[in-house]
Assembly symmetry: C2
Homo-oligomer: 276 residues x 2
């Protein structure tokens, strides 16, 4: 999917919501545990309930891997189910991989061939070599960590060089040159909404994947205010605030309600920016 298509889906659905599928066997409603594949069953209900409000899904790989090979089967079924349900969707492997050469090529193969993802989150520490095998796939995205929303992001991301440019700014400056705006997206934590204005000076045209709205405390209004560009340029993720809003029999209905609330708020900001 190229940037233009993603923007069209955003306009059509009046939403830039990404639903994070951090599907945890210890948190999903108990009545699902008797099914053959509880994680897939949970995801299926969540997808059914939210796919009209969401433009993207983001399975968090750690949750699937922690279940071993069974988890990878649940993941595969989930991706295929989303694809069967709608073509107006962007699917992200939140994998934060980061390796080089032949190994990196294997990761690209995993997420773009073995599994049919549109994008993968990647760690920039090892430089371009981490990303280049992913760039060889047309219509696929490298979603590179820039500024994260966790407390210890400051350990390294804020270290300034001699020109007072911090590491995360150097990552943005350098990594945006590695590919086109149809290939490179950045992860920017929502708890740093005011930093989005500065980030937009460095990377005006790239899509930004913004986690941390909701459970992690970021403000959607501020993210839209500082981060939106003339292609929208935002995917804002919510995981726990949607998928675990209820952990009872009504979990899918409540998830739907939460997703619709976010979609409606997003619609306001899209209108405010004359995007719809």
């Amino acid at each position: 999917m190229i940037r233009k298509e993603l923007t069209e889906i955003i306009k059509k659905k009046r939403s830039f919501l990404c639903v994070g599928l951090d599907s945890d066997i210890n948190k999903i409603p108990g009545h699902l545990l008797n099914t053959e594949d509880p994680i897939f069953e949970f995801n299926k209900h969540i997808v059914n309930a939210t796919h009209e409000s969401a433009v993207a899904y983001k399975p968090n790989l750690a949750f699937y891997e922690s279940m071993g090979s069974k988890g990878w089967i649940s993941l595969e079924k989930t991706v295929n189910y989303i694809r069967s349900k709608t073509s107006d969707i962007f699917i992200i492997a939140d994998a934060k991989r980061g390796d080089i050469g032949n190994t990196s090529a294997m990761y690209a193969k995993t997420f773009f061939e073995t599994y049919n993802f549109d994008g993968v989150t990647l760690a920039p520490y090892m430089g371009l070599d981490t990303v280049s095998p992913f760039l060889e796939y047309d219509g696929k995205w490298s979603i590179i960590l820039a500024l994260t929303s966790n407390k210890s992001a400051a350990d390294f991301q804020y270290i300034e060089d001699n020109d007072k440019v911090s590491l995360y700014q150097n990552v943005l400056k350098t990594a945006r040159t590695w590919g086109t705006n149809d290939q490179i997206m950045f992860v920017v934590g929502a708890t740093k909404a005011e930093a989005l204005a500065d980030i937009r000076k460095i990377a005006p045209d790239n899509f930004l994947l913004v986690p941390g709205v909701g459970a992690q405390g970021g403000s959607l209004e501020e993210v839209a205010k500082y981060g939106m560009n003339d292609h929208c340029g935002l995917l804002v993720n919510s995981s726990r605030g949607i998928i675990y809003a209820s952990v009872d029999h009504d979990f899918a209905e409540v998830a739907k309600q939460k997703a619709v609330e976010l979609q409606q708020e997003m619609e306001v900001y899209l209108k405010r920016s004359n995007l719809i």
Copy 2:
């Protein structure tokens, strides 16, 4: 496994060799492809051939993931097979994970509970939050990327702060305080052997995992000269140089021969440092 035990295995086997299991379905000998699980079959032969010369194995996760859930089954069987074969062994998941909070805890669970690894390679970009859930497991290791051997390592790892301290040096300085020398190990590429002397000034006591000897061109003698400390403090990895030294019916014999050659060279350096 604590550092003392690892050092004892090194002394007993007169080796600090780590064999990298970058087991690729497109590279293993053709006659194995008819078996039920070719990757496991290949690994079993490699382990049988090399376990007396190696103190560690390092499956490279990308190669297993690229085969989907089947690959994770091969991985699990491989770890269990190594454990059944010998207790004098350290097993590393070369996964280069890097996430935070609950997600990071899930990765720790994956590698230390679902699979019985001794250590996992981790990317430092997001800071301490990435590593802290791994530190909660006694006898398990966080193996943190510091200086890598690839060309584009220079993109970010060499960026200097105001005090002329480069990012990889900042990672060493900061991350070594996150845990004890029984918990924190660093990845340092062998093509930068001369940098090992400086690295030892910052992290004198940590074990270093050194890839890049052999196929990637690093010199074992230089790594031993600049990197060895009074606990040995080194695990030197070779992957392709051992496991693909022959891709014919004699692959296991040739792998054994290559592993023995490296072990014998390592024995010289261990003696030179009065460790054995």
